[in-house]
Amino acid sequence: MATHRPAFRILVSLVSMLLVIGGASLTPGLANPATTRTGKAEMGGAFTLVDSDNKPFSSQKLAGKPFAIFFGYTHCPDVCPASLAELTQDLAGMGAEADKLHVVFVSLDPERDTPAIMKSYLSAFDPRIVGLTGTPDAVAAVAKSYHVFWEKVPGSGADYTLNHTAATYLMNAAGEFAGFFDFRATSAQQTAKLKQLVETGNAM
């Protein structure tokens, strides 16, 4: 009962494939700047959040290089530390190519994830991973622009956990959606996608 039943696996696979197909249609035309309204669903866009040194961080700092962006929170027992640990391994596996992209971790829990907590938490991972938090409104706007789902799940007392999108989105140098993976992908698969993103701007 603890293992996934075959039917569930097939369902997950189907949904994943649909997401990949759906992801392709999300990509705006290459000639269109990310801010142009194309009539298609768009991913990302300009934002200003706060980095782990408590300084404003504008998305302009990401311009000109592709980036990987992951949304999570530090009270996350499983997916978030595992995903960040894997991104750390992926960057190590990319060698010099790792400097040709940015990696961003955005907190979906800005009430608890202060810049100082983000800094301490991220010290366990590759120092190139940029940790961002901000006001709840600012974070919510960025998460929505990336079509990230999240919701609070009440726990005992004032405690809560979050259900949230666990995918790492890959964006090209123009800030356009170029693919995704999640923690279920092997390190080799993740590294291959990141290299593809750096080399071609497309990691679908």
Binding site: A2, S16, M17, P77, I117, T161, N163, T186
Partner: protein
Amino acid sequence: MSSSRRAKALNSKSLVKIATRAPALALLAGTWPLQLALPAAAEEFQGGNIHIISPWSRATPPGAPVAGGYMLIKNTGGSADTLLGATSPIAKEGQVHEMHMDAQVMRMRELTHGLTIPAHGEVTLKPGNYHLMFTGLNTQLKLGTKFDAVLNFAHAGKIKVIFQVGSMAAMKPDSDMSESMKMDGMKDMKK
């Protein structure tokens, strides 16, 4: 409640397994001392009809307030039992949680009525699935260390166990990333 603990003897097969895994583990260990990255023998703890095999956790980032707890639970008895929670000096509380992926969304909830271990059955607590969630963590869990905990079952009562801490991205108790296990979930998720 009585609880006993015995470490399974390493047979030659498991030694071979360890030897072949060592390079990957060294890679995973990163900046951590290599001698800490070696997998431990499977440990079994018992209380009544409940057997707890290889309880393990993952290293936590500095300041992380939570940690997961994973293990195989076997019930050799003729009636079902329920894992209600855990206590440990490392945390304020140990709750039973269920996690699953709903397409790309990670969903987690507390099993307030506990987790049923069927008669003559077994349940695996593992990343991405059922797990113990230690909240109010008062220490940073480091790779290669151990911590004590007491699991609380409705019938078997309290069972003392020792958790081994694996790497931050470990998928199994011996810190092996288990690429094949991950491939299983990803095989249709092609680029």
